[in-house]
């Protein structure tokens, strides 16, 4: 079950969407949490004709030795209920700290429209209806936010109650007879709808939400064809929330989803409900930009057109767009996204539900950097002429020039660097090509030249993104988690909020959006903890499920081995790695990083240390001029005219992630694939095909002609890269620890890995929206 959970969830969601009259093609939410305060999420499935099957969605059963054992503690398999009722299958549920575990005796029976259903105690009426497949209209209720109960759209009739009840806020009680299709219900919904539309402007034709608007859809289904309101509609002043979120506050229906999102998920308490009654409005009171890395999600959360995307404004209508399911590559989290395109143009990017990775949120960088896909693109192969000008040439000429240059230098003088955004296919081809040329000097950007790839567990987020919720103490070492991996940070915030996990950090002081303890800035503090001379040690030792997250900024640290030794010592003393819990984590920065390590993109034994004369850059843009010897021949294969293109002698135009099918492995080791949403630009080609063509011209023909052939080669090197959406558990963790701590470590502060969250790679640097964000939120322009 677990191995295909991600895929299955997508399929099931589709199925649910077809079965229930879900009104909006959003990445929301058939999942419903029966206890809103617990971490337990139950996915509700319609199961055949005979009832409902519940599959709990927590604690992915993984192949790690430990998690299965842990899962079995919480998992219970309640027996099937009485005939005619509904069945449950709770095979794996990892209990959160303080979370209730559903026990068979805590099940209650209610009836929804005459159909009886067994539900766990504590579920709301709305969730009970959802289980039976009865969809209740709602605006303010959102399964991932706290319950507000203020829109009143979800009114249902409950037998023996005098009035309709708000189902989202009403706990289901034993024996409740819920009716959702009675005249009373219809009348109640129609009345509520009329009230909601009183002050709502009739501007659907010019509203960006038009066509995918909850209010529009639900008023079609539940509303009346006329209202009785003849007064003037009110107007509300628009708020300035920054360059990403456009506000048309007159359209707001005061559901307060955005307020709750900002407070609960994003952790920036800027938004609030101001005023009351007819003049109630959402606002910030003082002029305040929404400075959150997750702010774009309020656009999805907003059920009407009050909060819309500023960059997307007036560019497309939802029904013109083609949606392609894909993966985000702007960080190493691998958020699932939906690329909406019209013709050859990416119009917008939305999140896609993946409970184990990004839930239904994505970072602003993932959502809004798409305009960078259209700027600064390399569209033709180019060769630098002796006068320093780049000249467009044919593919054959460009490849021949590269092959010739490669053959003029010794293999030890060659080197290849894979960039941040490289897919596994092209990295595999690059490695094979250079190896065939006799070169073993290959590495991936951000790894440093001595990456440790022997053990996968040494560079992955071993705990897993979703399981981080269960940590009760987390030590961040040299990472600004909020900027390096916003969605991992959101998980940690969830743990802090729901189970009062404690977080401590060592490194540059950073603005985490939850309470945390800043222990120190560098190696000194780390070593004090490792040697047991710090009060934090006792706390770490007491924790049940402690976790350490090491930032990848430290992977290039001069004292890397000493720092890692100290971290391992802490992990060992805190018993953070044991059979049922692996709390040793590294957070990677780049989408390519994990895949590169699995493919072995590290310097081989014969790499040597000679001066580089031939440098092959596969989209590597983070090099400074000092890194590239002046007389070397530089090949830049990439999609953007970014930093390295200025130095290149030959430019080979490649593709961006929205144009190709590329395999990426995220920071927890989950393999996922992007899908081509738009055609390639100009004369550019798939990256692996370029290298394959080059190999032929260079006389070292790579033995694969198709993507499948290349993947067969990948299968031989790293089989997990072919198991899409399947988490390959890291190999057993073993400490390389010596008993003695190296005493020769220099005391230094940890570096910042991300200077500017909004501009980290060639796509985001080309994006105008990201430049606006930089100006607005960092007060400087790059």
């Amino acid at each position: 079950m677990a191995t295909t959970s991600g895929r299955r969830s997508a399929k099931l969601l589709q199925r649910i969407a077809t079965l229930t009259p879900r009104l909006k093609p959003r990445p929301a939410v058939a999942a419903c949490d029966w206890n809103p305060k617990s971490l337990q999420f139950w996915r509700c499935l319609h199961h055949g004709g005979d009832g409902v099957l519940l599959v709990p969605d927590v604690g992915r059963e993984r192949k790690t030795s430990g998690s299965r054992q842990l899962a079995s503690e919480g998992g219970r398999l309640p027996s099937s209920s009485a005939s005619g009722g509904l069945r449950f299958a709770t095979s794996a549920a990892l209990p959160a700290v303080g979370a209730k575990v559903a026990k068979a005796e805590e099940m209650i029976e209610v009836s929804v429209d005459g159909q009886s259903v067994q539900i766990p105690k504590g579920m709301t009426v709305l969730q009970a209806c959802e289980l039976v497949g009865v969809s209740i209209p709602r605006f303010c209720y959102h399964s991932r936010l706290s319950i507000a109960g203020n829109c009143r759209m979800c009114l249902v009739e409950v037998e023996k109650t005098p009035k309709p009840v708000a189902s989202c806020a009403m706990p289901a009680l034993p024996g409740m007879k819920i009716k959702t299709d009675t005249p009373l219900c219809k009348k109640a919904r129609e009345g509520v709808m009329e009230f909601l539309l009183l002050n709502h402007p009739l501007d659907c034709p010019i509203c960006d939400q038009g066509g995918e608007c909850d209010l529009q859809d639900q008023s079609m289904v539940f509303g009346s064809d006329r209202g009785r309101f003849t007064e003037t509609k009110r107007t509300v002043l628009d708020k300035n929330l920054g360059p990403l979120v456009k506000t048309i506050m007159t359209r707001c229906i005061q559901c307060t989803r955005c307020v709750r999102f900002a407070k609960e998920i994003a952790g920036v308490e800027d938004l609030g409900v101001l005023g009351r009654g007819g003049s109630e409005e959402i606002g910030t009171y003082v002029e305040n930009l929404m400075t959150s890395e997750l702010s774009g999600n309020v656009i999805d959360v907003c059920p009407v057109g009050a909060l819309t995307s500023k960059p997307y404004a007036f560019t497309a209508r939802s029904w013109e767009l083609k949606s392609t399911e894909s993966i985000d590559v702007t960080d190493a989290v691998g958020s699932n996204i939906r690329v909406d395109s019209r013709g050859p143009e990416v119009m917008r990017i939305l999140p896609r539900l993946h409970e184990e990775v990004n839930e239904e949120w994505i970072s602003d960088k993932a959502r809004f950097s798409y305009d960078g896909l259209k700027r600064q693109r390399l569209s033709e192969p180019m060769i630098r002429r002796p006068d320093g000008r780049l000249e467009a040439v044919s593919w054959h000429d460009a490849l021949e020039a590269v092959a010739e240059a490669a053959h003029q230098v010794k293999p030890e003088e060659m080197a290849g660097i894979a960039g941040k955004l490289s897919d596994a296919e092209s990295m595999m081809a690059l490695k094979d090509f250079l190896n065939k040329m006799g070169c073993e000097r290959i590495w991936s950007e951000g790894d440093g030249k001595s990456a440790n790839v022997d053990m996968r567990s040494s560079f992955l987020l071993n705990t897993g993104i979703a399981s981080l919720e269960y940590a009760d103490l987390c030590l961040l070492v040299g990472t600004q988690l909020r900027w390096e991996a916003p969605l991992v940070n959101a998980r940690l915030r969830k743990a802090v909020r729901s189970s009062r996990a404690k977080v401590a950090s060592i490194g540059p002081p950073t603005d985490l959006n939850y309470p945390h303890q800043h222990l120190g800035t560098g190696t000194e503090t780390l070593i004090r903890i490792a040697e047991g001379r710090h009060p934090f040690c006792a706390e770490f030792g007491r924790a049940e499920r402690p976790a350490v997250i090491v930032g990848s900024g430290l992977l290039e640290h001069s004292d890397k081995s000493a720092v890692m030794a100290a971290v391992e010592m802490i992990v060992k003393h805190g018993n953070a790695v044991r059979d049922d819990w692996n709390g040793f984590n590294t957070i990677l920065l780049n989408a390519a990083q994990a895949g590169a390590r699995d493919l072995g993109l590290v310097q081989g034994a014969r790499a040597g240390n000679k001066e580089i004369k031939f440098l092959y850059l596969l989209g590597a843009d983070e090099l400074t001029p000092a890194d590239i010897p002046a007389d070397s021949f530089v090949v830049y294969q990439g999609h953007h005219g970014d930093r390295s293109a200025y130095r290149a002698d030959v430019i080979l135009p490649g593709t961006v992630y929205t144009e190709k099918e590329g395999t990426y492995e995220n920071t927890e080791g989950l393999t996922q694939q992007t899908s081509p949403a738009v055609p390639t630009v100009g004369d550019s080609r798939d990256d692996w095909k370029i290298i394959r063509a080059l190999s032929e011209i260079a006389g070292v023909r790579l033995p694969y002609d198709t993507a499948n052939g290349l993947r067969a080669r990948m299968l031989a090197v790293s089989p997990n890269l072919l198991r899409i959406d399947d988490l390959e558990p890291p190999s057993d963790f073993s400490f390389t620890l010596k008993n003695q701590f190296p005493s020769t470590v220099a005391l230094s502060s940890f570096p910042k890995a991300v200077e500017n969250f909004y501009m980290t790679d060639s796509i985001t640097r080309a994006s105008r929206t990201m430049a606006q964000c930089t100006a607005a939120f960092f007060g400087k322009r790059e």
Binding site: T232, L237, E269, D270, G275, S279, V286
Partner: protein, 273 residues
């Protein structure tokens, strides 16, 4: 668009022009007094522009604001009424104290200071301050006169009372007189319907120590002007009913009912059980 909708729209537009035409016409009670004029003095009856702070002299996020030493003691006392982990419960009493100390209104920095004291985000305090119409976020006079505009008072002539006040003081609703002494606002039912019409005088002239909040009931346009004159002379008129023939809320000329102790309700004889 259907014809009926066009028609209703036309009616709405017609009514809107009628409403905006006369400045003194009472507004729907959902509109708070402070919202009548926006920053630029332009009348926008259904706008809520003032639920937003804009920096100006005397009310800027750059100002310093803190409770006075005496009031700091009272803050401690107020906080001691609530459990330590529910300090945010003190937001309303603290806003009230800040308003008394600051001459009848709460600048944005006072709200920020309160947020700091009770350990919440400032927006949570703004929410409370904007919700309650008794918290003023714009300067008011030393005597803030609030006219009850709810149905019983309105039927007994509260509009005439308000007109008399505004005419006497030469201000519009929400405006402060040039000498800074008076401002007129509207408020909802204060529960004095039996003595309608009534106004409330919030006296901020003596700081939070001598702060008073008095009801003046059974008013006539003439009497309310006299009240203002007495206040201007520094007197404190006797609060309560202004009809000399009435005692508190009793009827004019003495009681007509309930002259003897009423009989207890009929009840079965419990001793017999």
């Amino acid at each position: 668009m259907r014809s009926w909708r066009l028609a209703s729209r036309a009616v709405a537009v017609y009514r809107a022009t009628q409403t905006t035409g006369s400045a003194l016409r009472p507004l729907p009670s959902t509109v708070l007094p402070s919202q009548i004029q926006n920053q630029d003095g332009v009348c926008r009856p259904m706008s809520t522009a003032l639920l937003m702070h804009r920096d100006k002299p005397g009310n800027s996020v750059k100002d310093d604001w803190d409770f006075s030493p005496e009031n700091t003691e009272r803050v401690k006392e107020i906080l001691s009424n609530y459990p330590k982990n529910y300090k945010q419960s003190a937001s309303i009493p603290l806003l009230d104290l800040a308003q008394q100390q600051h001459g009848g209104w709460i600048p944005v920095q006072a709200m920020n200071r309160i947020a700091q004291i009770i350990g919440v985000a400032p927006i949570r305090v703004y929410e409370v301050a904007t919700f309650y119409s008794m918290f003023n976020r714009q300067p008011v006079g030393k005597y803030h006169l609030m006219v009850c505009g709810t149905t019983p008072c309105m039927l007994c002539g509260s509009r005439e009372i308000e007109d008399a006040l505004l005419k006497h003081l030469g201000v519009t609703r929400g405006e402060v007189t040039k000498d800074g002494l008076f401002s007129v606002g509207e408020m909802e039912c204060m529960g004095c319907c039996v003595n309608a019409p009534m106004i409330v005088v919030a006296d901020y002239s003596k700081g939070s120590e001598g702060y008073s909040y008095n009801y003046y009931e059974d008013l006539t346009p003439k009497r309310v002007v006299e009240l203002v004159q007495e206040l201007r002379q520094g007197k404190t008129p006797k609060w309560g009913t202004q009809n000399p023939k009435r005692i508190n809320c009793g009827p004019e000329g003495g009681n007509t009912t309930l002259l003897t102790t009423p009989k207890p309700p009929v009840c079965r004889d419990l001793d017999a059980c």
